[in-house]
């Protein structure tokens, strides 16, 4: 089962290696990991999608908590989340197929960001399922390359937050 956790870490050399190393050493499976700065220059945020059951996730949380530069851990399990994955994808697009492909792009509210003689590059954002559905639908045309950021997530406003 996929779970999303979000981890605030001190911006220090070696933190990423520490977190990634802990996952590897303890045999936890990472589905995706996205790192970026936050509004506070001293902190970065890692969004980690983990594969595992409740017990595994509990250990993941506790083991993350032991890493000294890890400041805070948010377990988004069961929360109402906005989740986004950003993808750049190159799809084979010979002239006779372009309008067909454009229709798909429009349906997904995706965006063409580059066009070459044989390929179009498309930017797709959205929840993972949407991004994956786009890849599937493009497969028959020929997918040359895919780059994804990995998922980031934020909970929707809750009851505590007015």
């Amino acid at each position: 089962m996929k779970r999303t956790i979000s981890v605030l870490v001190q911006n220090q050399p070696g933190v990423l290696a520490h977190v990634a190393g802990m996952f590897a050493a303890r045999g936890f499976n990472i589905d995706s990991l996205a790192v970026g700065r936050t509004e506070d220059p001293n902190l970065s945020r890692m969004t980690i999608v983990v594969l595992g059951d409740d017990a595994t996730l509990e250990q993941v949380r506790k083991q993350l908590g032991k890493i000294v530069p890890v400041v805070k851990i948010f377990d988004f399990t069961g929360q109402n989340l906005i989740q986004r994955d950003l993808m750049l994808i190159k799809v084979a697009a010979p002239p006779e197929k372009r309008s067909e492909i454009q229709a798909i792009i429009d349906m997904f509210r995706a965006k063409v960001v580059d066009i070459g003689p044989k390929f179009v590059m498309v930017e797709v954002t959205g929840p993972e399922e949407k991004v994956e559905a786009f890849i599937d639908i493009c497969r028959p045309y020929g997918v040359k390359d895919v780059v994804r950021t990995g998922m980031i997530a934020m909970p929707r406003h809750g009851k505590s937050e007015k």
Binding site: V9, Q10, P13, G14, A17, H18, G21, M22, A25, A55, E58, Q59, K62, Q63, G65, K66, I67, V68, P69, V70, V71, K72
Partner: protein, 580 residues
């Protein structure tokens, strides 16, 4: 502790007014942290640090190998509760500390290990004696640092000590590039206060959980307390004893918990687990409540996890939330410092007779005592240990290597004092015993320190003999010499049809080896010689090694074979495996 080191000059280059080298600051901060002793070995990139130590009151113990230095510091920490400190050079020096770091990490021992590093502009260039020390040691340290900016030096050292000694203790590495050691710190003043927003320790237990734990104890008919290394780390032995006595509950300890309770007390079940006593293991399988204190449900004590303590409600007191429900599902977790929690739990405890339960336990003690056959002419290893225990009145600091001799020591030395048993439990590091004994003797000059070692284990680190001799340390070494890697041989006997593949060794005369290094060397080959030679050994005022030629194919019993339930022990006295 707060006394500042008088500003003395570096021997070669007297500093001009207002300058202070990183290396000098290093010595000052160590003193501020209360360090009066460190272990280690010099090399190129740490020469500025060693030069500053030349003028420092901090005592330095030079080992003969960096692994030895880390084990010495480890035993210093285990016997005193203080942080053990090590200083070594980059590359090969740092790499040689890896085994010692992992040993300390597995057993939660507070160390700060300073490693030299090539100068910052060269890092990553495969410079001479460069190794990625923080990369190599990350998974075997509680935390590690590389100081790339002299402004971070003071803060980093303070943080390293704080992290090593607080919470669940552990080793911390601080990698120091040589340019930081020679930088003028006066011109690089940075923030000195610690900056650890993510490092939180829960040492106070939650009152509701404490009450729930006490109620569970009060309600139980067949409770057992299972105490581990955490009790010793938190110096909670007096509180534990008070609680056990008030509640009137039988208690078993792990290998690392030995000494936290007096084994001569009738409530003691001694050690549990793979080579624990039959009555401790049966008590676990029959109990209705198991109270784990500072213990981590290691696979050597649970046997088959699915069948561990099948009838028990489980209470777990531990400072590290990740220890809780890691291997065994816990019903009542109490996160916090053992000493803190035990002293508060005791208020809510009611005394109960539990006659039926103690009767059952005493019956098991009668039926399945720890024994061995001592009728032969030859020397039984267990007998040597019993005799050492008798002559030291069970009050010596005992160190061990890893193997059969380690298990026999746990079984046949009667421990009654905390911080008196120094052994590598989690990593099981052969060669730990002798350097550990050196570190323990330096830490506790007035105590008798005996290393009960295996021939193969001792062979791994006997290169530290000159260290003991140089420092005039009266460390005693009992080599239980069976000419085998006995523990390996035992498994080959039991599980590999007696095919003793590469588990025997041709040993030197350990007595002559000792003499060559300037220590006393003795040999015993007959049972009748044992009491006398131990007397001689204990009377020696310098390092003394006794080579006991023991029965070669003795086995450690009882034993819970891999995958078996804790009650499925082999090698019981009557060999009637009791089903629960």
């Amino acid at each position: 502790m707060e006394n500042e080191k008088p500003t003395q000059s570096l021997s070669q280059s007297p500093p001009t007014q207002g300058t202070k080298k990183g290396a000098q600051v290093f010595c000052e901060i160590l003193q501020r942290e209360g360090v009066d002793l460190m272990f280690g070995y010099p090399g190129g990139v740490v020469l500025p640090l060693f030069d500053a130590l030349y003028d420092s009151p901090i005592k330095f113990v030079l080992s003969r190998h960096e692994q030895g230095a880390t084990h010495m510091a480890d035993a210093y920490a285990r016997t005193t509760g203080k942080v053990g400190v090590v200083l070594v050079t980059s590359g090969p020096g740092a790499c040689n500390t890896v085994t010692g770091l992992a040993t300390a990490f597995m057993d939660s021992i507070p160390l700060v290990v300073f490693t030299g590093q090539v100068k910052t502009p060269l890092i990553g260039n495969d410079a001479f004696q460069e190794a990625d020390t923080t990369g190599i040691t990350r998974p075997i340290t509680k935390h590690n640092y590389i100081v790339k900016d002299p402004r971070d030096l003071v803060r980093t050292i303070h943080e390293a000590f704080h992290i090593a000694r607080t919470g669940r203790p552990g080793p911390v590495v601080v990698d120091l590039p040589v340019d930081v050691s020679v930088a003028d710190i006066a011109h690089h003043r940075g923030r000195e206060e610690m900056d650890l927003p993510g490092y939180k320790i829960r040492s106070e237990g939650h009152l509701r959980q404490i009450k729930r734990a006490a109620e569970a104890i009060n309600a139980s008919e067949r409770p057992v307390i299972y105490a581990g290394g955490g009790v010793i780390l938190s110096d909670a032995s007096p509180e534990l004893r008070a609680m056990v006595n008030k509640a009137n509950v039988p208690i078993t300890t792990t290998l690392l918990g030995l000494g936290c309770f007096d084994e001569s007390d009738p409530k003691s079940l001694m050690m549990l687990g793979m080579h624990g006593t039959a009555y401790a293991n049966y008590a676990i399988q029959e109990c209705d409540l198991l109270v784990a204190v500072g213990a981590r449900f290691d696979d050597r004590i649970t046997g088959d996890v699915k069948r561990f303590a099948p009838q028990a409600l489980i209470v777990h007191i531990d400072i590290d939330p990740s220890s809780i429900s890691k291997n065994v599902k816990v019903d009542i977790p109490v996160v916090g410092d053992a000493r803190n929690i035990l002293s508060r739990i005791i208020e809510f405890i009611e005394s109960k007779p539990r006659e039926a339960w103690f009767a059952r336990i005493n019956e098991m003690k009668r039926k399945y005592p720890l024994t061995y056959d001592n009728s032969s002419e030859g020397i039984k290893p267990q007998y040597v240990i019993e005799e050492v225990c008798r002559q030291t009145e069970g009050r010596a600091i005992i160190c061990t290597g890893v193997g059969q001799h380690q298990m026999w020591t746990a079984q046949f030395y009667r421990f009654s004092l905390p911080r008196h048993f120094v052994t590598s439990g989690g990593l099981g590091t052969m060669g730990f015993g002798f350097p550990a004994a050196i570190g323990a003797q330096i830490a506790c000059p007035n105590e008798t320190v005996v290393d009960i070692d295996g021939d193969s284990s001792f062979s791994m680190t006997l290169n530290e003999l000159p260290t003991a001799v140089e420092h005039k340390l009266p460390v005693k070494v009992c080599v239980l010499n069976n000419g085998y890697m006995g523990m390996v041989r035992q498994w080959q006997e039991l599980f590999y049809g007696r095919r003793y593949s590469k588990s025997y060794l041709q040993n030197p005369s350990f007595a002559k080896v000792a003499e060559a290094f300037g220590a006393i060397g003795l040999t015993a080959t007959k049972k009748t010689e044992v009491p006398k030679v131990i007397e001689q050994m204990l009377a020696a005022d310098t390092c003394c090694v006794v080579d006991f030629h023991v029965e070669r194919e003795e086995n450690v019993w009882p034993m819970v074979a891999a995958g078996k339930g804790l009650h499925e022990m082999d090698g019981l006295p009557t060999d009637t495996s009791e089903r629960v």
